[in-house]
Amino acid sequence: MALLDDLPDAVRATLGGVRDGEELVDGTLVSMAGDIGLDGSFGERWLIADRRAVTVATVAKGGVSRDLELPLEQIRAVRVDTLVGSGALLIDTKSGGVVEALRFSAALAPKFGAAARALEAIAKEEAIPETSAADVERKVCPKCGDPLPDDTNVCIKCVDKRAVLLRLLGYAMPFRTQCILIAVLMLAGTAVSVIPPIFQQKLTDEVLVPHKHFDWIGGIVFGLILVSILSRALTIWRGRLAAWISNRMVYVLRTQAYNRLQELSLGYYDKRQTGSLLARVTQDVNELQNFMVDGIQFFLVNSLTIVGILVIMFRYNWLLTLLVLIPVPITVYLVQATWKRLRGRLVRLYHLRSNLSASLTSVLSGVRVVKAFAQEEREKDQFEDRSAKLRDATSYYDMGVATYFPMIEFVTTLGVYVIWLVGGREVFSNFSNKPSEGMTLGVLGMFLSYTAMLLGPLQGMTRIADWMSRSTASAERVFEVIDAEPDIKSVENAVRMPRIEGHVELRSVRFSYDKNQPVLDGVSIDVKAGEMIGLVGHSGAGKSTIINLLSRFYDVKEGAILIDGVDIRNIDLGDLRRQIGVVLQEPYLFPGSIADNIKYARPDAAPEEIMQAAKAANAHEFIMRFPDGYDTFVGERGARLSGGERQRISIARAILHDPRILILDEATASVDTQTEKKIQDAIARLVAGRTTFAIAHRLSTLRNANRLMVIERGKLAELGTHDELLAKPDGTFRKLVDLQREVNQINEL
């Protein structure tokens, strides 16, 4: 059972013993470990309950001590006091006192919430409410034991131990054949590209120096041109093929990331900035694209070239080759050391850049507020400040690059001097200039050519490290999105419900957006199909949360929501969403025509249906008055339309969507009285025959509701018809109505 943690022996020992002829431990109903000690520091304390009493035991260095024992008959109520970053289990006693049993960190809040309800039930000799382990237990990674957040089963530390790069290459698997072709082209291309210096050597040693075979010159030059043409042709073929493949790989990656963003629940978005998500789908994917189009090829071609050149050089003069290679390990070391320094600057740069774009997004979206409060100067200053930070970070990074790399380059070119020094002396003492008798002028020239050919790839390989680290960082961020598990999804064997009747039941629904703040605290209601329920309460009372849960944007933490008797979590998500329609206070219109917006949920709707829906929504009249009729383009957030017009378009959208369950979230809040009347009429037509949940601040607009739910601090305070609730002289609803009447009178004056 979820309420019983394994008692450590030491704790069990202190509980042992017999009281009133009964052994305490045998009757244990609740045993739970808390993680905050008596002094307010982390520490182990146990909450234990049997049929007689609630006991708290503290585990300390000196041993276990029992520091609270409260007989059950003294308990009146048990509750959790939600604190900041922690919580406390409080017991109200029948003598009017309050006893704090123990405290616990935020992570254990769900667990002790269940404990509180269980203890109260035990004290009242009621049945202990059901709690499943999944509701109260901390989610931990089965591999490393680190806690997992609610919204995912993926442990970042343990997920996919393969190197990110390998995983990235996995995207090339569908293009195996093309990849093999590329590899062949690369090999051939490299082989061809290392030929010219050999020709040069022949020309020097067998034609120019001995003054023989004059007629070879033309042939050798022609050969050089041919090789050059062949080499270019191979490069072009390879480049085109690589561009084709890599762009397809990136396309898959980008689509996967975007599709996952669409699947992820609102809970994922609550905790993240739009700007940083945007950067992942655009910037990071671009970064990967660059790497996959150019980086990987660059890396392989360079490696092959280096190997090819070295093989030839070794064959001619192994000692000189080794001497030329002396600076290479030094270069590699220097490059690594440099990147260790630069990586930090680079990461900081990335964060500053995405910070800047996130702040840009938020300020531009809120530009009306900025202007209304005349804060342009401050926003300018703030942007300047951020921009300056980015400037400094970028120049710090760029200056590092500008400083270190010429130094590294110098070390890399040391080989050239070695060739002149050592090779030059050998050539000087080889009077016959025959390769069999030592170093020749031709071989010296060839070595110089090859060393020059090596420099490019070697220096390139030093940059590849940076390229690779940047790309792996990008890949990690993209994969983090792809790997995120949507917490709301259809279960396996989800119940298909092609037509929902609309019978909705909330059973002691509890919910919180984060663990510290319960938003709904045990709300129950049974709504008949076709009934209209008005939701009333102060802002922050939990009305919108109920709506979010009905739409299954979030899942209940405890309790259940049933539609036609089926738990909402077991209903096929597609079926559910298809039959729930929402009209929001500030409807969002996508860029496109009015018709596009009306048929958003049903893109195949016929023009007549669109017009019928608009007519029913009292929108047809004003739409036809626009010069472009239904083809009128509505820009970002539909700025060209008034609030009432946008509202009616969104009602038309809902009518066309034809939902079984309708949600009206402050649908008439932001319009004038005359428009409100039109919207009211439209809504009345929309509501007919559907189960409707309506939030409205103007309480008069809820007169048509069959019943009203008054929500107060996450609890259902009152439930009844408009008139019933109004008849309660001390009722919350009555007070709200009176208050609103007063406000209206003031407004009328």
């Binding site: 307010g40 900041v84 309050v98 704090e100 405290r103 900035q273 983090e480």
Partner: protein
């Protein structure tokens, strides 16, 4: 629409502008427990009224924790604000301080024993003023809050809060991880 307690002093209260913050006169405020061991905090405003159970909360828990302490009734409605805890009498002050320590569980990190980071999430193994702790912060950038120069708070994946009073004090690795999300 608070559920006000009817008291003889209510007339005086009515004269106050209900839309203005009430700053409590420290000499009139008395905080105490009705009985030893009782968790509820009682508040008496001298010559006015008494609450059986009040909550104590900071108005600026990060930027000014020592000032502007709010007293709230059982319904979590505002009673008034104490400008400075120091002005209270010794017993009330001690009680308020204990209540604040209890309410805000934000261990201050004193030492970072190890930190590892992957894909923007970090695992910390730390010593804090409230004992050793190990926690995971997912999506570091979205769960870090700058509280001032070099000072920041992290919220772990389970809602636990950890304060780093000076991010330069924990060595290079930790500074590297923390500074880039600052």
């Amino acid at each position: 629409m608070s559920s006000n307690i009817e008291t003889p002093g209510a007339e005086a209260a009515e004269e106050r502008n209900p839309f203005a913050i009430r700053f409590l006169e420290p000499s009139q405020v008395q905080l105490f427990h009705s009985a030893p061991g009782d968790a509820a905090i009682r508040l008496t405003i001298e010559g006015e009224l008494s609450w059986l159970s009040v909550r104590i909360a900071r108005a600026f828990p990060f930027s000014d924790p020592a000032h502007y302490i709010g007293l709230r009734d059982e319904e979590d409605e505002d009673i008034g604000i104490i400008r400075d805890l120091k002005e209270l009498d010794a017993e009330s002050r001690a009680l308020a301080q204990t209540a604040l320590d209890r309410r805000y569980f934000t261990p201050k990190v004193t030492k970072v024993k190890s930190v590892s980071e992957k894909s923007g999430s970090a695992t910390f193994d730390v010593e804090t003023d409230r004992g050793p702790a190990r926690f995971v912060v997912r999506s570091l950038r979205d769960n870090s809050f700058s509280l001032g120069y070099h000072r920041m708070m992290l919220v772990d994946s389970e809602g636990g809060r950890y304060e780093f009073p000076d991010i330069t004090a924990y060595g290079n690795k930790a500074y590297f991880v923390l500074s880039k999300v600052m």
